[in-house]
């Protein structure tokens, strides 16, 4: 792939890349179990070829992209911080392309205000679906301007390699200024809509997880503080940054919005 490091953390000493082994063995992917090591142990059953993403809704040209089509987009490496809502974080070199590039191809209509995403939900491949931890399939959503933002990417790889199953193979979203659960994995459908789409965690516990879920040290999760985080592999906690440190790039998207209300 081409490798323009479009956006990298500005301070490499503060933001050393997380060891690949940690990023591929400490995962939340409840379709494969709720323990952190469950996805790496159980996701071997996920079949990533063939794979298709249906893109439909308020678009001029509804299109189904095969995995080969997705891999033909110009790929680049993006080193992003990832902040989990649980209070841990990583720094991961993703390989992917801007979601905007894909959306442009389907010709969004003027009605398209939001983008809804859906994860595969196949019991034969995903043992975690036995348990009603969440309502399956997992769904997520972005506002159109968030989806079109150049920082928002679809990732097909990490650490220069094909995306491992436990990390959301073969294709996942990465939205670095939002809590990790917004970065939906193993996507099978993308639907552009006029109305704000439901999102899995919001549906499960609306008081705890909002639609926006921007990383925000000022707004605590009702059950734990969001003021600090531990970078996986480090000992002590560090202060969490607003928008996960990407405020310069994305804060303007939320100008005039009360981020306490729109958490």
């Amino acid at each position: 792939f081409q490798a323009p490091l479009t956006v990298s953390p500005k301070d490499p000493k503060m933001d050393a890349q997380t060891p690949m082994k940690s990023a591929t063995s400490y995962n939340n992917f409840y379709e494969f179990g709720t323990d952190k090591t469950d996805p790496s142990e159980n996701a071997g059953t996920l079949r990533t070829r063939p794979w298709e993403i249906a893109v439909d809704g308020d678009v001029g040209k509804p299109t189904t992209f095969g995995i080969e089509d997705l891999l033909s987009f110009p790929l680049e490496e993006r080193v992003y911080r990832l902040r989990c809502v649980e209070g841990w974080s990583m720094v991961i070199p993703w390989v992917g392309f801007p979601l905007a590039e894909l959306l442009k191809r389907v010709d969004p209509t003027g009605n398209a205000k939001y983008v809804a995403f859906q994860t595969l939900a196949d019991r034969s491949q995903m043992p975690g679906l036995k348990y009603p931890v969440l309502q399956w399939p997992y769904v997520e959503g972005l506002r159109m301007d968030e989806a079109m933002h150049p920082l928002t990417i679809l990732a097909v790889g990490m650490y220069g390699e094909t995306l491992p199953n436990q990390n959301g193979a073969p294709v996942r979203l990465v939205v670095p200024w939002k809590y990790g659960f917004k970065s939906i994995k193993s996507i099978v459908r993308i639907t552009l809509t006029q109305d704000q789409p439901p999102t899995s965690w919001n549906r499960s516990q609306p008081r705890e997880y909002g639609f926006y879920s921007n990383v925000n040290p000022e707004v605590d999760h009702p059950r734990w503080s969001q003021a600090t985080e531990r970078r996986v592999g480090e000992f002590s906690r560090r202060k969490t940054l607003a928008f996960n440190g990407y405020g310069e790039e994305v804060a303007s998207l939320y100008a005039g919005m009360d981020l306490r209300k729109n958490y």
Binding site: K21, S22, A23, S25, Y26, Y30, T34, K36, T37, E86, W88, Y131, P132, V133, L134, W201, S204, D220, P222, R223, W224, S225, A227, T228, R230, V232, G233, F235, S236, R237
Partner: protein
């Protein structure tokens, strides 16, 4: 049931090796955690995993301690009683480890942050409540304290172990994300033990028999 009083189980329970064996068993989870910690087995987030494991073992041992009396009554093995205190103290030990790792390592003695957590976050409030109770029970667990408090008052105080057990189960139920079943398994076991305790308590017969009512 009298037949069991000199059976092999009763003999084993009264053996002078029984307590050291139970003590060694109680240390096994700690040894396991230390081994995992040194071999990298605690995973990418060892601090979080150490908090989780120590909390789980505190709850497990508390449930085992609560099972001793019903088990003694159901099996007629009076010899079981002498292990109850040790098992309860191990539950306290793992709870202490759980709280220590949270305060000392996870929060790095940021007492302000810890205090904020305790007053602001219900699952930590409830968990700390359980820990305070277990501390009081551990502190009054010696023979001397039983004497000083008097049997009746000591017994009343130590009934609080049920409150600690309930709080421990609620703490676990409250802290997980989404609808996960393991915390409910622990809660169900706890409720089962409470029911069993109620059914096997000496006063249960009295409650059922009208002749004792006056």
């Amino acid at each position: 049931m009298a037949a069991t009083s000199k059976g092999p189980v009763a003999l084993a329970l009264s053996s002078r090796w029984a307590k050291p064996v139970v003590f060694a068993l109680g240390l096994l989870p700690l040894g396991w955690m230390v081994w995992l910690g040194m071999s990298g087995g605690l995973g990418a987030e060892p601090v979080a995993e150490a908090v989780r494991q120590s909390g789980l073992w505190a709850l497990r041992l508390l449930l085992i301690a609560l099972a001793v009396t019903p088990l003694r009554i159901l099996t007629g093995q009076a010899g079981l009683a002498r292990f109850r205190r040790m098992i309860g103290l191990f539950a306290f030990f793992y709870a202490l480890l759980h709280v220590s790792v949270y305060v000392g390592v996870d929060q790095f003695f940021d007492w302000a942050a810890v205090w904020k957590d305790i007053v602001k976050r219900p699952y930590i409030t409830v968990g700390m409540g359980a820990f305070v109770i277990l501390t009081a029970l551990a502190a009054t667990s010696t023979n001397g304290m039983v004497r000083r408090l008097g049997g009746r008052r000591w017994k009343a105080l130590h009934k609080a172990v049920f409150v600690a057990g309930a709080a421990g189960c609620i703490h676990y139920v409250m802290l997980v994300k989404g609808w996960q079943y393991p915390p409910f398994v622990y809660a169900a076991i706890f409720l089962g033990l409470v029911a069993l305790r109620y059914a096997t308590s000496p006063s249960a017969g009295r409650r059922l028999s009208p002749s004792y009512r006056t």
